[in-house]
């Protein structure tokens, strides 16, 4: 083994703690990459393979009723390769308790159809047979409810009770990610999709050969934009209510957003941790080079070139990179499966695997080695500048003996004790070390605060949504439209309903110049009390008499402001009207365009109707009364869906809790990063000050008094790190919120005060832990040995 390599290995062994801390910081980067990269790599591949094999459609249409003859004609449209017509409807599952509001989306399944679009992969059970009251359920719902083939589900469907046998579980490209109406997260326990034989659903809906849902696949080279017009023409006779591209399909757009998030996480986080590790590494190496000045001088005197010595110090970084690769690789291999399972629970499709890829980890390991070597070269660069004779002498402190800034404030400076002065001068005179440590600590603070902000932020979002915006207890959707007054009166006649407000929800396309956007219009009563709007400062927004209210995000996308005019393309009834943007509002869990009901009726030439209603129960409603009401709503013929807000809130809360494991893991990593930086700063301070600290002990300073010098210096760095971390946290949250915002939901970028407190506590915790280690090191220092020699 080359002699210098032996020296490097022994040096690393001597300061193993410091080098391990650097390596572990880098290892977090490798771990992230190792655990996530395979998911990131195979999710898009799995998605494409699934889409292709199960013929995921390029466009989707919802209609009133398209006759079978018209459906066939669609295949003649230029650019259309295949068409599948289906029937869809909603039903409620009657559960063990009468107030259960479990919903199912029913989709017809023709066992005889060849090459059907949006086909299903049966993962358990048997295919459906025509004429049987059987259903295939999406896997999430099937598993969450502990179903097995042969179980029976009783459905409330348009006033009838129907029993279906569970045939099995399926996966489909159309519902990789399923969310119930009005929710942003999957709720597999209470919402799913059921495929039932076409002839059965046809009979139940009296469809008579017509279809209300059409999927279209394009020939290669054709796009939605190119075919949109001709598709509208072909589908309009069936009462087209919505035509949209694959990009706007709920499951696909969520999946795309998630893939984008994973991509960002895989490319940003590992590099960030490698960078943090490298920063600390360069500080450690710089200090070691200062300590080994005599050895360097000697090597130069022997004839080693500056470059050769620099190469020698690069080996330290390579060794650290190697340790990081091994540790991160092993941890990555252990966690890859867990990460894959977590994604597989959200995104139901075949092929999500967390197989550990050594090849991919090897790529990042090379990067870790490069970061390590680079950090060492940066830390040791001073070697080149010094001659042998210069190197033999101790280096002059960076700031020389010039007074530091604080010394100019004499009244303040005089108040400091000699030990505090000692710490402060050291801090200001080791500028590059202090700056790097400061920066590292502020990044860690921002990371920790952002991670801790995430959970309260989602909770806040839910709280705002379920208590401030949606103030109702139940929301129902109707099968057929109803008269608003009549609907409200009917609902008010039911005990224990205290308040009922009819609403109209319609598919809508907004157009501003060349930009168009598919969304939904929600018309509320003019004096609505069960649904409130707020601006970005959480101030109430009044529903304008005329015009519509957009979300800030939507207004940004369309490039419009309050007072501008938009074109509203309301599909049902087919109307195209201009409308003024009356106000803007913030919506966290939806992106409705809102208006008042009378304005909508004026747009639709006096036509008044409701597609659903919001219901508030009397404050002292008993459980039995509530249960009876839920049962009546569930069994009502014209009620398509019943959403129980309390249940939704609870489900959401449970879902958030299940995803906390990942957040806690990230928080632990961020706190560890704080500890590693504070610890290494301490190690460096200690190595610089061993002689001074030993002198203090000899003078009669107690162990605590001596340790206080190190503590004060670290504390000053931490305080500065927190101060700089505050704006960093804001920027991190802003970036996170922007990257996660979608048409379905917006995440508030505010960082709760509690997250700052938690982050500050984490920093101080890391400081205390590091301090205990430092104190032990100070106690172990042999005063006589240290003070005997010359530096």
């Amino acid at each position: 083994m080359p002699t210098l390599l032996k020296k490097a290995l022994r040096d690393v062994r001597q300061r193993l703690g410091a080098y391990l801390a650097c390596a572990m910081l880098m290892a977090i980067g490798v771990l992230f990459y190792g655990a996530m990269t395979q998911v990131a790599a195979n999710m898009p591949v799995a998605m494409q393979a699934f889409y292709s094999e199960y013929r995921f459609a390029d466009a989707f249409a919802t209609l009133h009723a398209l006759p079978a003859s018209r459906l066939k004609r669609l295949t003649a449209v230029e650019g259309v390769e295949a068409v599948s017509g289906r029937l869809t409807a909603t039903a409620k599952v009657l559960g063990d308790t009468r107030e259960d509001t479990t919903g199912l989306r029913l989709i017809s399944y023709d066992p005889a159809e060849q090459n059907r679009l949006n086909d299903v992969l049966i993962t358990e059970g048997l295919p459906l047979n025509a004429g049987s009251y059987a259903m295939l359920l999406t896997e999430g719902f099937y598993r969450a409810n502990g179903l097995t083939p042969g179980n029976t589900l009783t459905l409330a469907f348009r006033g009838r009770k129907l029993s279906f046998t569970v045939a099995g579980a399926v996966q489909t490209p159309e519902y990789i990610y399923i969310t119930p109406e009005g929710s942003i997260m999957p709720d597999n326990k209470n919402f799913g999709v059921a495929y039932v034989p076409l002839d059965i659903l046809e009979g139940l809906l009296n469809a008579g050969g017509a279809r209300n849902d059409v999927s279209i696949r394009f020939k290669p080279g054709y796009t939605f934009r190119q075919l949109e017009r001709s598709l509208i023409d072909a589908l309009s006779p069936g009462g087209l209510t919505r035509l949209y591209a694959r990009e706007d399909q709920a499951s696909h757009s969520m999946l795309r957003l998630e893939l984008q998030g994973i991509e960002t996480m895989v490319s940003v986080l590992p590099v960030l941790f490698l960078l943090l590790g490298a920063m600390v590494m360069s500080v450690v190496i710089k200090r070691m080079v200062e300590q080994q000045h005599a050895q360097i001088g000697l090597m130069k005197a022997f004839g080693y070139s500056g470059r050769a010595i620099l190469r020698h110090y690069a080996v330290y970084g390579i060794l650290v990179g190697l340790m990081a690769s091994i540790m991160g690789g092993v941890l990555g291999a252990l966690t890859a499966g867990y990460i894959a399972d977590m994604y597989a629970s959200y995104f139901v499709m075949p092929g999500i695997s967390g197989t550990f890829s050594f090849a991919r980890v090897a790529q990042l390991s090379l990067l870790a080695l490069a970061f390590g070597a680079g950090a060492s070269l940066y830390g040791a660069r001073g070697v080149l500048r010094r001659t042998a004779a210069m190197a033999m002498r101790p280096a002059t402190p960076e700031g020389g003996n010039k007074p530091i800034l604080l010394e100019r404030l004499q009244p303040l400076w005089r108040r400091f004790s000699a030990t505090a002065k000692l710490s402060l001068r050291n801090l200001f005179r080791s500028r590059s070390r202090s700056l790097l440590t400061w920066l590292g600590l502020s990044i860690c603070y921002a990371l920790t605060a952002a991670v801790f902000a995430f959970s309260p932020m989602i909770e806040y979002m839910m709280q705002e949504n379920f208590t401030e915006v949606q103030r109702y207890d139940y929301r129902i959707g109707l099968v057929n439209i109803a008269d608003t007054r009549q609907l409200e009166q009917t609902l008010l006649s039911m005990r224990p309903v205290a308040l009922a407000e009819a609403i109209a929800e319609l598919p809508l396309q907004l157009r501003a110049g060349a930009i168009s956007k598919d969304t939904a219009l929600l018309a509320l009563p003019e004096d609505a009390t069960l649904y409130r709007l707020f601006d970005d400062a959480r101030q109430p927004v009044a529903l304008p008499r005329a015009g519509v209210v957009l979300t800030y995000r939507m207004a940004r996308e369309l490039g419009v402001a309050v007072g501008d005019t938009l074109l509203l393309d309301i599909s049902y009834p087919d109307t195209e009207v201009p409308a003024v943007v009356g106000a803007l509002c913030e919506q966290y869990t939806s992106s409705y365009v809102l208006c008042n009901r009378s304005y909508l009726s004026s747009l639709l030439h006096g036509r008044q109707f409701a597609t659903g209603a919001m219901i508030k129960l009397a404050p002292h409603a008993t459980g039995a009364e509530t249960e009876r009401l839920a049962q009546r709503l569930n069994e009502a013929e014209n009620v398509a869906s019943v959403a129980d807000v309390a249940q939704m809130q609870q489900n959401m809360h449970e879902l958030i809790q299940t995803s906390m494991g990942t957040l806690y893991a990230m928080a632990v990593m961020a706190i560890f990063a704080c500890f590693a930086i504070v610890y290494n700063a301490g190690v460096v301070i200690l190595s610089e000050r061993t002689r001074e600290l030993a002198s203090m002990r000899v003078l009669g300073f107690t162990l605590n008094e001596t340790s206080r010098v190190v503590a004060f210096e670290q504390l000053a760095l931490i305080a500065a790190g927190i101060l700089l971390g505050l704006p960093f946290t804001g920027a991190t949250m802003e970036a996170l919120a922007n990257s996660m915002a979608s048409d379905t939901y917006a995440i508030p970028a505010d960082v709760p005060f509690s997250s700052h407190i938690t982050s500050v506590l984490a920093m101080f915790g890391a400081w205390l832990a590091a301090l205990l280690v430092m104190r032990r090191k100070v106690a172990k220092t042999k005063m006589a040995d240290v003070l005997k020699g010359q530096d």
Partner: protein
């Protein structure tokens, strides 16, 4: 003269792996208040080890060090810290000043923790460093640094000054200056001063001289007429 500190049958064994080195082999010594003592001996004879044990910065393997009736060898770290803080002033060959504190602040550092410290400016005057009070160690010569180190040791108003080769790194002229300062504190402040050195010339200044060889006191004699520092032969 009143007894200040007594070492009885002190043994010190250093163990490195399987190798054992016996630095002190049952050495006994007594220092008295106000004495100027020189401990002579070749390198490796155990004189630094003795000084460290007497000063409470190293522990004896066996034996006793009695100070005011208390055995320091059996004392906990808290007692040793208090002992070093109130009773001992150390002076080392390589000064060991705080590089980031000025001369004055270095002395202040020691004065801050003592129960009855001397005035810092008086100390600076005593070592003739008043005009360099605001200088950092790197701006001072070796002799000047050592004088500040002595002033720092004395500023605590300790009972004894233990000096490990205080002139070892200095030339003759600055060495004499340092010895003069030590003598001044011994004579004018009544502090016990113990110097270990391999420079036999310094022995002429002492009231009492101990010679250590192979971990034991090989010789001891009293100077009837100690010479002034200026007459020390280097």
């Amino acid at each position: 003269m009143q007894e200040l500190i007594r070492g009885i049958d002190i043994k010190k064994i250093y163990k490195t792996g399987d190798v054992q080195v016996e630095a002190l082999r049952g050495l006994s010594i007594t220092l008295y208040e106000g004495e100027f003592i020189v401990i002579l001996g070749p390198s490796g004879s155990g004189k630094s080890t003795l000084l460290n044990i007497l000063g409470g910065i190293d522990a004896a393997t066996s034996g006793q060090v009695l100070f005011e009736g208390q055995n320091l060898c059996a004392a906990p770290e808290r007692v040793l810290t208090h002992y070093r803080r109130q009773a001992v002033g150390f002076v080392f060959q390589f000064y060991n000043l705080m590089p980031n504190l000025t001369a004055r602040e270095n002395i202040q550092l020691a004065a801050d923790i003592a129960a009855q410290p001397f005035d810092v400016d008086a100390m600076l005057r005593d070592v003739d460093m008043s005009d360099r009070a605001g200088h950092f160690p790197s701006q001072l010569s070796g002799g000047q640094q050592q004088r500040v180190a002595i002033a720092r040791a004395v500023a605590k108003n300790p009972r004894m000054l233990l000096c490990d080769e205080p002139t070892g790194a200095l030339d003759v002229q600055t060495g004499v200056q340092v010895l003069r300062v030590l003598r001044h504190f011994n004579r004018d402040y009544g502090k016990t001063v113990a110097i270990i050195t391999h420079n036999a010339g310094i022995a002429g200044m002492a009231d009492k001289v101990f010679t250590i060889r192979d971990g034991v006191i090989a010789a001891k004699h009293r100077n009837a007429h100690p010479i002034p520092p200026e007459e020390v032969a280097w």
